[in-house]
Amino acid sequence: MAEAAEQALRARVGVLEAESAARGAEIDRLERELRKRDGDVDGFMREKHVAYVLDFWRKEKETKDTLEMLSIEHIRVQGVFWAFGSLQILSAQDKVNTEEIVAWALKCQDKTSAGFAGNVGHDTNVINTQFAVYVLAQCGALDKIDADAVAAYVAARQQPDGSFADEWSGEKDTRYTCCALFCLQILGRLEVVDLAGAVRYVLSCRNAADGGFGQVPHAESHAAFTYTALGALKVAGHELPADEADELAWWLAERQCDSGGLNGRPEKQADVCYSFWALTCLKMLGRIDWIDRDRLCKFILECQDEDAGGIADRPGNVSDLFHTFFGLCGLELLHSIATPAQISPVLALPMSVLPPHASLC
């Protein structure tokens, strides 16, 4: 009897949760509609951001070196992902030549292993392979690679404990797992790896004390690694139990600082990049309203670089592509800017570029 009652209760909770998810999706759609009608939130410097991002390619052409260009030279594939992704959110992606991007990205592939490097002449790893596949997806050029070969490269990086590792240093953490699964998700090849093992590894990085995830087992919870962990779990089809999801969502909501911005760990300063990582985790958990959205939006706007365009880590600092992309993603998730590019909260790619088999929430 008690068992039947419990089952009935669980079924009821399931129905209510499904209803609430459907309502959330409808609110999402309506807010987007309203935003399209109203235009960008006041103070958003759309044109300056477009000019700043386009500068990335102009400076390269004119070989105008800057500290930023040099510091991301070895992970240019990530730089291109941030830059092109920013333009997609700003509806200005037609201002760059995708043929050139695709031709260059293909040159980053190692012909033997089929893995990708961060730039031509560098060594491959799973992280840059994921970003190269992302860039090709952004440009609608996934048909230019042999998906089976790339998937085999990724699968070969999986370790006996279910994690994925760098083939040179042996380093393994939730980032490698996340990048491996995201890459396979885009390629439609999740079945080539041991998903249960990957999930087991990710869960071993969870901290029962606060519900968050660290980079490796026993490491302190961190909002960025929590994103990699939660994203990997989503792709693997693993849902956290309701009480664990609640605990995590509370910890994520506590990342909001007095400034309105989100930080990555307790008692650290806010940084724009968590406006995507922590916020999108709340979105994945269906709890985006557990923070004050208006104050977060205000913080991201305050981080805009009025002179150069782009978005910085915090107010008064110099902008860069990384924070520009994650700041724009944050504003998109908050429905603060008018954009046709709805960003997947899990994969951080516009829904429109995802192959049908890859779309997630």
């Binding site: 040179w168 104050r295 110099v318």
Partner: protein
């Protein structure tokens, strides 16, 4: 590119042309050196000159993993070559190379970027692979370096992770971690990384979580909470400790656990009153204690007279309106549990 100030950019732009040209020349030089190093990588060249070039570039940017890969290959090749002639000499060389590589890597981290993933993962590689799981390394020296770097940045999670590798090799037990965490907490209560370490050490020692131990832990953290009632670090630890108050049949100390639960309700109530009834963290602490009571000590009246889930959550909404939706959810949860 974290932390560059706009005013510094303005200053750089106002610099005289000669300085600007010098900077541009430096960047161009770096780009061309990187290009040379990559050509060496393509040619599998791990000569002394190439190793030096990669080392110099890594001291500017320790995140260029390909350059660490050159050095990894070069170091292993040298030991292999020596081993073909003389095993003893090869072992001596291995120890030597470990020492030198640790020094170069320290330099790269400290001068280049002390938060570089690739830099730190190379350091772990030196210890675990090149140093044959620490047998060719002075682990105490490395532990001391961690102390130094954590003194400069007590939240550097890369350093904590590296230290965990060392602790495994040095066969540190939970008690060593407890002592280490206690030292860090004593230096600064507001160091959640240290509280986290303490949680992990105690989780590895469930026999340390008897009522008497918990009482001692509450004493330690309450000391921090009375000093800094707004600091979330200690409160996160407190939150975890409250969870440990659930009954454990094997320990036969339920009476003491109930008493501690009520003591903590009194402590949080006092802290909240000290802050004019608006201490977010003390209120959250009371909610947590109440939840634990409902779950495990249903016969106990945990909350003081006149206090309820509704009144606690109303106070929370008023002092922390940004999280109002969560407090609404919390109130519904607590009410439904009752």
């Amino acid at each position: 590119m974290h932390g560059r100030k706009q005013k510094d950019r303005a200053l750089a732009e106002a610099e005289d042309p000669a300085k600007k040209a010098a900077r541009a020349a430096k960047y161009a030089k770096l780009r061309s050196l990187l290009h040379t190093a990559l050509e060496c990588r393509a040619a599998h060249d791990t000569s002394d000159a190439t190793m030096t070039l990669c080392g110099e570039l890594l001291c500017i940017n320790p995140s260029i993993n390909t350059l660490w890969n050159v050095r990894r290959d070069g170091l292993l090749a040298r030991i292999r070559a020596a081993g073909e002639k003389d095993e003893t000499a090869a072992q001596a060389l291995r120890e030597d190379l470990c020492k030198q590589e640790l020094e170069l890597n320290r330099h790269a981290l400290v001068k280049g970027n002390v938060k570089s993933h690739e830099g730190w993962s190379h350091r772990a590689w030196i210890v675990e692979v090149l140093g044959e799981d620490g047998s060719c390394i002075n682990v105490d020296r490395e532990l001391m370096l961690c102390d130094q770097l954590l003194a400069a940045d007590e939240r550097n999670f890369h350093c904590f992770q590296y230290r965990r590798v060392l602790a495994r090799i040095a066969k540190h037990g939970p008690d060593d971690d407890l002592r280490f965490a206690e030292g860090l907490v004593e230096r600064n209560f507001s160091n959640y990384s240290a509280w986290h370490l303490r949680i992990k050490a105690l989780e590895a020692r469930p026999d340390h979580l008897r009522a008497a131990d918990l009482e001692e832990e509450f004493g330690l953290v309450c000391n921090a909470l009375f000093t800094e009632p707004d600091d979330s670090s200690g409160w996160m630890y407190h939150r975890w400790l409250v969870g440990q108050l659930q009954p454990r049949s094997a320990l036969d100390d339920e009476v003491d656990r109930r008493r501690i639960l009520q003591d903590q309700v009194a402590t949080c109530t006092e802290l909240n009153e000290m802050e004019g009834g608006e201490s977010k963290w003390a209120l959250l602490g009371l909610c947590r204690l109440y939840e634990l009571g409902l779950r495990h000590y249903a016969d106990l009246d945990v909350l003081p007279p006149g206090t309820s889930a509704g009144s606690l959550c109303a106070a929370l909404k008023s002092c922390d309106p940004g999280h109002a939706v969560y407090y609404h959810h919390l109130e519904a949860k607590l009410t439904s549990m009752k």
